[in-house]
Amino acid sequence: MTAAPAQAARTRPAPAARRPGLAAARLLRLELRHNAMLWLLPVVLALFWLTYYRKIMALPPLWNPRASSLHTGTVAVFTAPVAGAAAWMGTREARRRVSDLAGVTAVPRWARQLATWAATTAWAIVGYLACLAAVYGVTARQAHWGGPLWWPAAVPAATLAAVAALGFAAGSLLPSRFTAPVIAIAAFFVVALSTQLIVGSHSYWQVSPIVAGPWDIGPDAGVATFYPYVPDLAMAQLMFLTGITVAALGLLAVAAGPGGWRRLSRPAAAVAVAGLVAAGTAAALAGTGTMDRSGMIAIPALHDAASDRPLRFTPVCSTTGVSRSAIPVCLNPAYASYLPATVAALQPVLSQLAGLPGAPARVSQAAAAYHQQAGNGVAIGLAGPHLAGTPPVYRLLLPVQLVGPAPAAQESAALLRISDGSALVASVTGAGPGATPAQDAVATAIMLAARAQPAPPPANAPPAGRAPGAGRSTARRGETISGSGAGPIGVSAVPALAPGSPGYAAAQRFAAQPATARHAWLMRHLPALRAGQITVAQLP
C-alpha cells in the first residue's frame, strides 16, 4: 500500500525549472511584434528626412553643429509619435477589454506594462539609431578632423525612453480614445515650445531635452573645435530624463494596485519619488549653468576643468599645393575644407603685403570667444587683437565660426575679403580712426589694386538679431570682444574715401602704379607713412 505513492513520487516529472529571464524575453518578443511604434517608424523616418536630415546635411561638415542639429531634430520629430504610440499601447488592455483576463495571469501587471514600454522604447530607439547612423556616417566621411560626439547623441535616446514612459503611464492610467492624440500633441508642445521660456544661459528650462547647447546661438560651427565639447548640459539632461523615466515607471507600479505586486507598492513609490527628486535636481543644476567663453554651457557642479584647456592640433597651412599663398594661411584642421576658399579670398591682399615691413608672417585662424549679454544677447568674436606676437601673426575668424546660418562659399569669401583683407591692410598701413589722409589713401590704393575695394559701411550694420525660431537673441557676429581689431564682419576696416576727394584721387593714382613700383615705394616709405610723415601729395 505504501509502495504505490512512493513509485508515483519517483515517476512524477520534475517541475520545470523557472527561467524568468527566458519568460521575460518571450514577453518582450511578443510585445515587439505587436507594437504600434513599429508601424509608425516609417512615418517618423520620412518626417525626419523631410524636416531635419536635409538641413543637417547642408551644415558645414563639422561634428558639433551636425550633432547638435541631430539632437534637436530627432527630439522634435520623435517626441509626438513616440508619446502617442506609447499612450496607445498603454490603453491596449482597456481598449481590448482584457484587463480582468490579464489580471489573473502569472505575470504581474507591472511586469507586463514594463515589457510593453520597453518594446515601444526599443522601436523608437531603433528608429533614432537609424537617423544617427545616417548623419554620423555621412559626417565621418566628410569631416576632416574630430570625431563623433556621443553625449549629444545619448540625450535623444534618453528622451525617447522618458517620453515613452510618460505616454505609456498616461495611456494606462487614463485610458480613453482621446488619450493618445492629446498626449502626443501635448508632449510636442511642452518639449518644443517650452524653449520660449529660456532667457539667457542661467535658465532652468535649458534642461528641456530639445536644447543642445546655448539656446541663444543654436548649432554653432565655432564650438567644440578649439576647445573640447563640454558635456555638462547633456549630463544634467540625462539625469533629468532618467529621473522622469524612473518616476513614470514607478508610478505605474504604484498604480498597478490589486492586480499587480502589492509588495512592490512601497518600493515603487520610493523609486518614483527618487526619480522626481533626480529630475528636480537636474533642473536646478541646469539653472546654475553659464555660457563659457568657448560657447558651451558649463555647470559648476558637473564641470571638468580639463575641458577648459584648448585642444591640441596641427594646423593645415597654405604652404604647398594649389592653396599656396604669399603669406601662409593656417586653419584649424576641422575647417580644412575652407582653406582653398580662404586663401583665394585673401591672396590678392596678401600678395600686396608680402615682404613689407610690419606685414604678418602668418595668418592664423583663432578661436571664437562667446560672451553672454543681457537677456538673450550673445556676442561672438575674436578675443584680443588681430595682430599679435613676434613675428606678427594675423588672427582671423572664419565667417562660419560666427552665429547665424553658415554663409555660402561666395558670401564667405566676400566677407573675408572685405573684413579681414581690409584689416590686414589697415594693420600694415595704420589706416583707420586717427590715421592721416595719406595712410587711408595708401590703404585704399592697396585694396583697389587687390580688387577688394572697401564698400561704404552699410546703414544697418551687420547681421543683428536672429531669425525667428532661433530664439530671441540679439547676438552680434564678428564683434571684437576685447582689444583692438576689425569691427563687425562685413564692414571694412579701411575708411571709405569719397570718390572725387583728393585722398581718393591719390589712391587711384597710386593703385595705377605697376605692382613692383608700388611695392618698392612701400618698402622705402612705409615706416614714415605709419609715423604720419607722408602727405597725400607725396604719393606717387
Binding site: 522634435a76 482621446f178 492624440p181 510636442f188 518644443a192
Partner: protein, 254 residues
Amino acid sequence: MTAGWIHAKPQAGPSGYGPQPAAEPRRPQPPGELSGPQPAAPRSGSRPGRSWRPAGRLGWLFIRGRRLTATVAVIAGSAAGLRIALAAGHWDTYGALQLPLVFEAVAAAAIAVSTASPFGEPERVTGRWLPWLRLAAALALTGLAAGLLAAAGAGAPLAGGALDVLRNLAGLTGLGLLGAAVLGGGLAWTGPVAYLLAGLYALYTQWHPPALHTPWLWPARPPHDLGGALCAGLVFLAGLAVATVYGARDPAGE
C-alpha cells in the same frame, strides 16, 4: 468586467472606453419565440407628430456611441488652451506662428478619433441613416472647432486669423478622416499629428531657406492663398466623403 468600444451591452467601465447604451437591454426570450428583430406592432392611437422620437433617439445614441460630448469637450479645451497661450505667453514670431497649428491639430485629431465606432461591422448593416449621421457629426464638429478656435483668437494676435484657422483645421480634419478609414478610428490621430510636424517645418522654412512652397503644406501659405485653400479643401472633402460612405475602419475586437 471591463467594458469596451464594442460592447453590445451598455455597461460603464473604469476605462472610459465602453459605456455606450446603444440598444435597449434585451428582454428574456420566451421558448419558441423567433430571435431577431421583430416588426413593431402599430400602436393604437399613435400620432404622426411624434415621429421625431425615433430619429432623436437614434441621434442621441450616435452621440453617445461616438463619444461626441467628450469630443466637444476636447475641442473646447483646445480652444481654451489656445486662448490661454495667446494671452499668457510672450511668443516670438516663430512661436506665435506655430501656436495655432498645434491647437488646431488637437481639435482635428479629436474629430478624427470620434469616428471610431464601438460596434464595428454589425453597425453597418443596421440602417440607412448611419452615413448621414457620420456626415452631420463630422461637419458639425469641424464647424464647432473652427468657430471656437477663431473665437479663442479674437482680440489676440492670432497668426493668420480666422481664415487660417478654418483652412488648417479643415485640412487636418480631412487627413484625420482619411486616416480613420484606413487605420481605424483609434489610430486616426496619426494623420493630423504627422502633418502637424510637417506643417510646422514648412512654417520654419519661411525663415530658414530653402522654403517649402508647395500648397500641399498649406499651413505655410498665406491665409488668402488659393492653392493652399484648394488643397486643404480637397483633403477635407475627400476625408468627409470617405468617412461618410465607409466610416472608420474599426477592426473587430477594438
